[in-house]
Amino acid sequence: MSDLSYVRAEMLPERAPPASQVGFVGWARQNLFNGVGNSILTVLSLIFIWYVVSFLLSWAFSPTWNSASLSECREIFGAESGHHAACWGVINDRWQQLLFGFYPNGSEEGTSDLRWRPILAFLLLFVAVTPVLFNMISRRMNWVLLCAVLGLTSLYLGGALGIVVGLALIAAGAAIGYKALTADKTARAAEIEAGAKRLPNPLIFSAIYPFIAPWLLWGGSLWLPIGAALGFVIGYFVFRFLAPIAGSLVGMIVAVLVALVWWLLLTVGFADLMQSIIPIGLEPVESRDFGGFMLSITIGVVAIACSLPIGIVLALGRQSDLLIVKALCVGFIEFIRGVPLITLLFVASTLLNIFMPPGTNFDIILRVLIMVTLFAAAYMAEVIRGGLAALPRGQYEAADALGLDYWKAQRLIIMPQALKISIPGIVSTFIGVFKDTVLVSIIGLLDPLGLSNAIRADQAWNGVVWELYGFIALLFFIFCFSMSRYSMYLERRLRTDHR
């Protein structure tokens, strides 16, 4: 037999795929033009995009940045072309107001530019939340960040002392940063294992921040936030002292009572006394000067930060076996969720003073903060309740079987998992709360939207629409969109199951 074969005996070398299947052409054929209907849709949307983009670009690029009024803008368009174009002068004229409201900027006689304070508070906010939000930033880098922010601020404030302190802080930050960048990670880990000295935990600063921020924003005596912080310290020491003697529950109750007494009765006296001995303070700023994005961010951050713990407590109350507690929580949650935020803001603006003892008259921003926090807490409670309900029953039973008491089980077993499940809901509640802060413009606070009404009522800018609202919308979009991206990142980071 000859070695005749009808089948090829060896493999052919692989050939490159046809040009229509790879690269951009292949991708486009697969995704954009795979069928008549799809091709028509693609072409239509391309035309749509072209139309929108070309209009938008020719609208946005207009040399009107320095114009002082809308009529001046119109003159500039008239000279150039007949088409519609943006009048950016309004943003140039008012962006500071849109960001800071009427916070003292030194333009009036006898005042100084205090806007570094909200900026510093905002930057410190980032430093404070970094260790909570991101785990890839090392302890040292966080301190570098803090030193840099504080150093730059004191350099900005100037004066001999400011420059010395600023340079010292920046030098310290640079030294820490240099050490952190040059150190070998594994060697450092071994050192820490062996008991090397570490920098303090940056969460300490995060804990202090809630006392610093209001002081920076509203100013006044430094002793007031210190007094408020002392309440926690006193409560802690009372607990430490009583817990071994009378049991942890009694210790906790007494500690809370002592702290409450301190805050309600003694703090102001303490602050006044210390202020008269050692006066340290910032120039006070009235709430009515707050406005713009500063106001939105203040309300949003406070409501977000306070609503999470309150929401957790409400959700636990709603899930608990205690009938009365459950009824109270359900009533509260359903009531708040059943009414629009605007009615709650009406309560804040007109009724909250009526509910308080005669003679109390507290700040409108504080009243709004209370109502927005309560509103956010009710929504948060429902989100967290969803997380609790989604947890398999076995987790609760396993915690019981390990002999953990209620709070330990919640802290170690239930809450970490329930909160993880509810992250998307929590973050979308956060976004909702931040967006809802614009409602305060209806009760007369000057948030960006309230300011926009004032600007549009101004003779010079009467008739401006797209530029102004576009600017405000863009800023809101940046905040909300980055929050939603962060939630996706957090979901990925906390995903511990196998996929």
Partner: protein, 420 residues
Amino acid sequence: MTTITDPHQGQFRLSMLLYDSRYRSLTIQIVALIGFLMLIGWLLSNTAQNLAELGKEPSFSFMMEPAGYDINQRLLDYNSQDTHLRASFMGLLNTLLVAVMGCITATVLGVIIGVLRLSPNWIISRLSAVYVEGFRNVPVLLWIVFTMAVLIETLPQPSAFRKGEASMSLWDSVAVTNRGIYIPEPLFSRSLGDIHLLGNSSLRFDVSLDLLALLAVLIGGILTSVLIKRRADILQEATGVRPRTWHWRLGVVVVPVVLVLAILGFHLGYPELKGFNFRNGIHLRNSLIALWLALSLYTGAFIAEIVRAGILAVSKGQTEAASALGLRPKRTMSLVILPQALRVIIPPLISNYLNLTKNSSLAIAVGYMDITGTLGGITMNQTGRELETVLLLMLVYLTISLTISAVMNWYNESVKLKER
């Protein structure tokens, strides 16, 4: 009979209230209740004291006084001599009007965008994503105010129609002006008249007999059509052949309605330019249009995400199983995917309807006279009765919300997977 684990029979001590798990829950609850009652009592006593100082004893009699303000967009007859109650009633109807309109358009928009976002076409799905992210991440109040401003600033004035700079659209039937949109109104030349309900009271309203007749005929037609479908189903079960019925089913709905319209002498009243403004036709004011558009676009973005999530929630195995059974793609969609997706979609959808209804309270920012604008706005400012008006306002919204949630729970129960 003796129990095996006898409870501890020791003497009752006070500390057992805290440390004995038998009593502790009771202690906590009683403490919570006392705390709550004390808080309420404290608030009430403060309120009573403050109101007494201000000389405003709580009373709702102001609702019966003449309102004295005008409501330009309204569904029923109203004049400024009517009571505050009547004004609030108009406001409530306006709230419901914009809520229903908004829910319908938001659903249509959301479903379309949600499906498009799942499209294999890359550009289309990106465009839908841009829409969703753009609208979701900007406050709804900003959209409302912005839409209002755009309507006022960019649309032509009625005088432009006179000069010929602008013309009416849709075969001269709709006039889009910066004072609102004028659309044709349905008129009946051989009208049956109205029934006046509730006499002369503040809640009086008229029901058009023409509308009732139309509705009756329409419902009758739909019922007949359902009967025909049932009969076709029975025939198909018995013989395996489905009779062609769609023309009958369409006929029994359309023909009687057209007949009734012809008998009643139905015609459209077109808006006409008279003097400085348009007359006749239905005038939809800018405030209504802005609120409706903004709420629909905003809520539509949320609904799009819900629809997308619902469709993605149906596992791929279901589609594959359906095609393994030999169902065609269309039947797969209607018989397998949609019923399961709807179960995921409906609850959040209804909670979005709820949000839309609550967000319609932002009407006050553009001057649309909904319940917040009437009761919580002008009535509150005129009478100075903050406590009563805000309470009533909350009560109204709470009623609407609880009604919608009740419907949602009922629906949820009825479509829940019946398992174990």
